[in-house]
Symmetry: C2
Subunit: 194 residues, 2 copies
DNA sequence: CCAAAAATTATTACCTGATACTAAAAGTAG
DNA sequence: CTACTTTTAGTATCAGGTAATAATTTTTGG
């Protein structure tokens, strides 16, 4: 068995530390790593091989590609959550999963505005109009939503409105069959073209 | 005056198209650009110089750094907007500037949920408690907010509440001295420790 | 203690996508 | 024709690597 003696840190430990170092500083070169670990550049490269960590240039390229995709997808998210059903001017359903970036670090409970955002953007999406803006809303958070839970929002357009420029949309959001949020949104529409 | 004859596109036009090409495909090499524009690689490089566009590797590095910063700052944003004044259990003020990612592409009007998010997170921040959650809210979007406008949200804790577990917070958001949003938030607090 | 195995270091050739610089050729205007 | 701009060509150099082969050092089993 291979057991390193004193004087230099053992290989296994170095591998762990190397992976860690690159993780939280992806912009470090092999050259700089040799100084950190007091080993030759070849050792660093063998280590990277073993760990399956690509070279600096590949790493930053991957990061850039990832963020580039994100920018594109950020412009796609006309709706917070994924619309699974849409009947214009009638009803709509969207699904939104709560993950780390949506919760309070301490409690792992979703921040209210994300739940609101899902409902609000669905209420906007269901309105078949060029320009639809939220005028006001009356909302209630029935119970808190936790990390990992899937929120299913259902929006219903109330057609009892007298005024054609204002539409009432009711939104109910569920986790499973438990109601977690409800809201009544008053939406302004620019001009109804149908 | 320099006016190019037929056969090749004029320099000024090429410069514009080059900037455009790199803008929406930052991962293109000078070599690939020579084929697109049918000029030598030196010309491409002179053009980049003139336009102040860095080389491929610099470009993707900048993108990666930007996204790396974003990941870090995403975890900092306990509050949407920048808190400029905070008197716990009394009042708070935050500033939030509307930029491209917050508006509808067509109209350049801010999506309602961002305005809501600023108000909601400020209402949470002003409550001096370990766990504070939004129970319900009654909100009104007074006028639409446009790209580039700075929203100043002011939150006031109403201390007329009988129930110590529920707190009412009023939020008024202004652009300049125009009211754009108002909301009354009912916040649940876990246990008041003072 | 000694030989085999493991780990590390050294060396060399090569790659991509550039910069920096010098020089020459081609096109264009007056 | 000539002054000027634009474009092309060529060379040297760089960073930050890959790939492969060999040599050296360290460790350990027995």
């Amino acid at each position: 068995m291979v057991v390193m003696r004193i004087g230099r840190i053992p290989k296994q430990k170095r591998l762990l530390e190397l992976a860690n170092e690159i993780e939280h500083n992806p912009f470090i070169t092999d050259e700089q790593l040799t100084k950190k670990f007091n080993v030759s550049i070849q050792t660093i490269r063998l280590d990277r091989m073993e760990l399956g960590i690509p070279e600096l240039r590949e790493r930053i390229k991957l990061m850039a590609e990832k963020s580039y995709d994100k920018v594109v997808s950020l412009q796609i998210d006309e709706v917070i959550g994924e619309v699974v059903d849409l009947q214009l001017d009638k009803s709509a359903i969207s699904i939104f999963e709560i993950n780390e970036e949506h919760v309070f670090a301490k409690t792992k409970i979703a921040r209210g505005h994300h739940i609101f955002s899902q409902g609000n953007s669905l209420a906007i999406a269901v309105i078949d109009d060029e320009v639809a803006l939220t005028a006001s809303a009356d909302i209630r958070f029935v119970r808190s939503v936790k990390l990992g839970e899937k929120c299913i929002a259902k929006a219903y357009v109330r057609n009892d409105s007298l005024n054609r420029d204002k539409v009432n949309v009711d939104v109910f959001t569920y986790v499973g069959n438990e109601l977690v949020f409800e809201g009544n949104f008053v939406i302004f529409r620019s001009d109804h073209k149908k």
